[in-house]
């Protein structure tokens, strides 16, 4: 009895914190409402459509999908591609991370940039390059090797481009973990008689295993939900995300398109839960303490050379793609007429300048909103306790787990009629950017806030500062690097978005990536190259400006070193 009375008091207490601070209370309510409206509701709309037939509940769409080999095949293809890409990209990412964190190879700074460069590239830039290099009229296949092949379309080409696109995800997951492994542990293993090779397999690798597993899952999901690469280079190799899009917009079969998108949700949400509730508790290393010594002796000279050559080759391969895109922008007709020209620029700016401007405007509008919202949520989640906090935490991270295809379909279904008639507006695009990218800000904010001791904020409160004042004067300045990192990511992802927004663009508010896709489809590869090139330049200029304005380093923004 007394116990249950105490419990009631406890609940009252946690609620009390919410009501005694009206700003917090109103903030939490507003954030929860917007998360429900822009994350849960669209998902619900898509799920509902996929689960009904003639207005009643029915599994017929799913039944149809699983009983027709045509759809089963695209499911199998997606999974197979995901497994291959996840394995290869994690391998490449691990080598990069190991070479930089443990091997301390020459040119670490350069390789660090190379390991994150693909992240700031348009979604199918690599696919475009691969076509230019290895396609039917590819420089290497057709010109140098005189092959008449379309073999690059399909699984092979997809694996190449997705590995290149996604090994940075693995790298970024693993580099922190490898850096967090105290070199003293490896030194100690050697001191106990383990050779370097043995040390690697008995100490370093087991300690990195949770990170490797996490990175594999992240890349797997990334591959599964990728839309830009498969639609360009997938060819006959049908994958779920593309099938859902074609079904929904091409054939107008809305329920089936929604059902296919829902299928994508199963593995992504699964991985989300594994990440959030299993790996987090399994990780051996916390990256809080500083390693006692930086100089690691665990890598031999020979191994260092091997790591150097591998990372160099991958880096050159990546750079080759960039060179290709840039050259493609200036060459009259790829593989036919190699003379230099500016006509692609003229044409591209003719068809694309307005779109580029609009894309940029929407990205610039949504970036600060995303960054601030992410930081506010992170602050509330880390520093405040009240009933319903878990819900806020969960919802704010959830959109990370929803594939863009499902988001796009959900938004169309949810916001095409009153009271939320938003389709065709700029607002719907801003909403997509904000709510798709907010988890990155939340995650970065949480990591940064957890490193600031709670004492510091409490001390401010204790000296008389309100929650809002403490946030402005103490917390915000201290989480500045994380804040701008979140903002930069939000900007980059808004500029390179495709899978969700392809459902939502309109003639008035088009997106540059959608335009590039259209140009590629009509084989205007020169124009597509110019527009990709322009996108990269815009992103780099923006990143550069942020770095100059804030005095932050590239590694601080992309969070690859501690």
């Amino acid at each position: 009895m007394a116990n249950s009375k105490l419990k009631r008091r406890l609940n009252k207490n946690s609620f009390h914190q919410l009501t005694s601070d009206p700003a917090l209370f109103i903030g939490v309510i507003l954030i929860l409402a917007s998360l429900v409206l822009f994350i849960v509701y669209p998902l619900y709309a898509a799920a509902k459509l996929s689960l009904s037939s003639d207005g009643v509940f029915s599994l017929s769409q799913y039944q149809y999908i699983f009983t027709h080999s045509y759809y089963r095949k695209s499911i199998m293809n997606s999974v197979m591609l995901g497994v291959i890409v996840a394995t290869l990209a994690t391998f490449v990412g691990f080598i990069f991370a190991y070479a930089i964190a443990k091997g301390k190879i020459r040119g670490s700074g350069f390789f660090q940039s190379m390991a994150i460069l693909p992240i700031i590239s348009p979604p199918f830039m690599f696919a475009l390059s691969v076509i230019l290099l290895f396609g039917r009229n590819g420089l290497i296949t057709a010109k140098l090797l005189h092959l008449d092949t379309s073999g690059v379309y399909g699984l092979k080409g997809l694996v190449i481009v997705q590995v290149i696109t996604m090994y940075p995800i693995a790298y970024m997951t693993l580099v922190g973990i490898l850096q967090g492994i105290d070199p003293d542990l490896e030194t100690c293993a050697m001191n106990l008689g383990a050779k370097r090779f043995k040390t690697f397999f008995t100490v370093t690798l087991p300690l990195a295993l949770p990170g490797i597993f996490a990175s594999w899952l992240l890349v797997f999901v990334g591959s599964l939900t990728d839309f830009g690469n498969p639609i360009i280079i997938g060819g006959e190799f049908d994958v779920l995300s593309v099938r859902a899009y074609l079904e929904f917009t091409g054939m107008g079969n809305l329920p089936r398109g929604a059902a296919l998108a829902m299928l994508l949700l199963v593995p992504t949400v699964g991985v989300f839960f594994i990440q959030k509730y299993i790996i987090k508790n399994k990780a051996y290393v916390t990256i809080t303490g500083k390693s006692s010594r930086r100089g690691s002796t665990s890598v031999t000279k020979g191994a260092k050379n091997g790591l150097f050559i591998f990372t160099l080759l991958v880096s050159l391969f990546v750079l080759l793609f960039y060179v290709t895109i840039i050259s493609g922008s200036f060459i009259k007709l790829w593989s036919v007429d190699w003379s230099l020209t500016f006509k692609h620029f003229v044409y591209a700016f003719d068809v694309g300048l307005t779109t580029l401007k609009n894309t940029l405007v929407l990205a610039i509008v949504s970036t600060p909103i995303t960054a601030v919202l992410g930081m506010v949520i992170a602050f509330i989640v880390v520093r405040k306790s009240f009933a319903g906090k878990q819900v806020l935490d969960f919802l704010s991270m959830l959109s990370y787990a929803i594939p863009g295809t499902a988001v796009g379909i959900g938004y169309i279904l949810a916001f095409n009629k009153a009271p939320f008639k938003l389709s065709g507006t700029a607002f719907i695009l801003v909403a997509v950017y904000v709510f798709r990218n907010v988890p990155i800000g939340v995650q970065g904010g949480i990591a940064a806030l957890k490193q600031i001791s709670g004492d510091i904020e409490e001390s401010s409160t204790n000296l008389g500062a309100s929650t809002a004042y403490t946030f402005r004067k103490i917390t915000l300045p201290l989480v500045r690097p994380a804040f701008f990192a979140g903002a930069t990511f939000a900007f980059v992802r808004s500029m390179t978005a495709i899978s969700a927004i392809i459902f939502l663009v309109s003639a008035r508010w088009n997106h540059l990536t959608v335009l590039i896709l259209a140009q590629t489809e009509i084989m205007r590869l020169g124009a597509a190259s110019v527009l990709s090139f322009a996108l990269i330049v815009v992103i780099m200029v923006f990143t550069f400006i942020i770095m100059k304005l804030t005095g932050l380093k590239q590694s601080q923004i992309f969070g690859t070193t501690n």
Partner: protein, 365 residues
Amino acid sequence: MEQNNNENYLVLKDITKVFSDGRGNDVTAVDNISLTIKKGDFVTLLGPSGCGKTTTLRMVAGFELQTAGDIALADKLINNVAPFDRNMPMVFQSYALFPHLTIFENIAYGLKIRKLSKEVIMNDVAMVSQMVNLVGLENRYPGELSGGQQQRVALARALVLKPEIILFDEPLSNLDAKLRIQTRTEIKRVQQMMGITALYVTHDQSEALSMSDQIVIMNRGEIAQVGSPEEIYNNPNSSFVADFIGNANFIDANVSEIGSDSLTVTVQGKSISVGKTTEEFSEGEEVSLAIKPEAVDISLEPTGFLGKLDVSSFLGSITEYKIEFENSFIIAIHSNTAGHTMKHFKMGEEVHVDFNKDFFHIYKK
């Protein structure tokens, strides 16, 4: 009324704090404690880690809301006063200095929130900097200061608000031994000079003994004893307090006779007379005798009880002897004052142990 206000300045009444992890595992950190603090007193909450002392302090500061009970300051309930409105600056164990602000800005932080004029802020910060010896460091950042200096900034940041009451959460535990002793006299001096009431959490008994007007000994969420340093040191009311505050030796004994104002107990077949306590004992009952190391004497003369020297440690001003006694160990401390030569015993040697009987305390086993 005024008198009452001063005597019952800060009152904690029936305070309980239960932490719940949300999965039904409740931990009672503070269990129904009551405490009254006089205005201007230096009160220490002393106890081992996990005894609830910091939780109590944080409830006074408003960082934790008590599960049950009331806290009143100057006759006003402050249960529902937000932490930022309590005006009880706290000195944190980690100092919690704002790393992105200079020393001046750190100290001025609370004044700026109170929207004081620039001149007042400059003036007050300068005065406090003078008081805690920080002059010349105002434009540095916390990271550029030594631990002792950081500690003084934390103190200055609290003092500059001219508070009625100031809270300390183990403020000296990150300093080295010498600095710790120096700083505790410093804190005490400032506290008395400004007439501030202080609530001070520590697990260091010498800190508590040297600084406090009142010591509150806590154990497992409850208050074990409240009293002045002398009272607590000389008359611990339980074996826990005796052990915690004086590192007492405990000797097993049997009650052999109950007199009108004393008890006779037997150790090694010899009788010892002990003053009565409020506790009731029966004849034949097994009890613990507590005695402080400095009340134990050892010699080679066959005068007292029998023991065996295990190890002796020369510690400068004192020598500490560890003696095997009745299947257990006891500690004796001898002062090495000038002219008083240190006694030399061999390890493993049979020695005779004598107790200053006035210092025995008797507790139930």
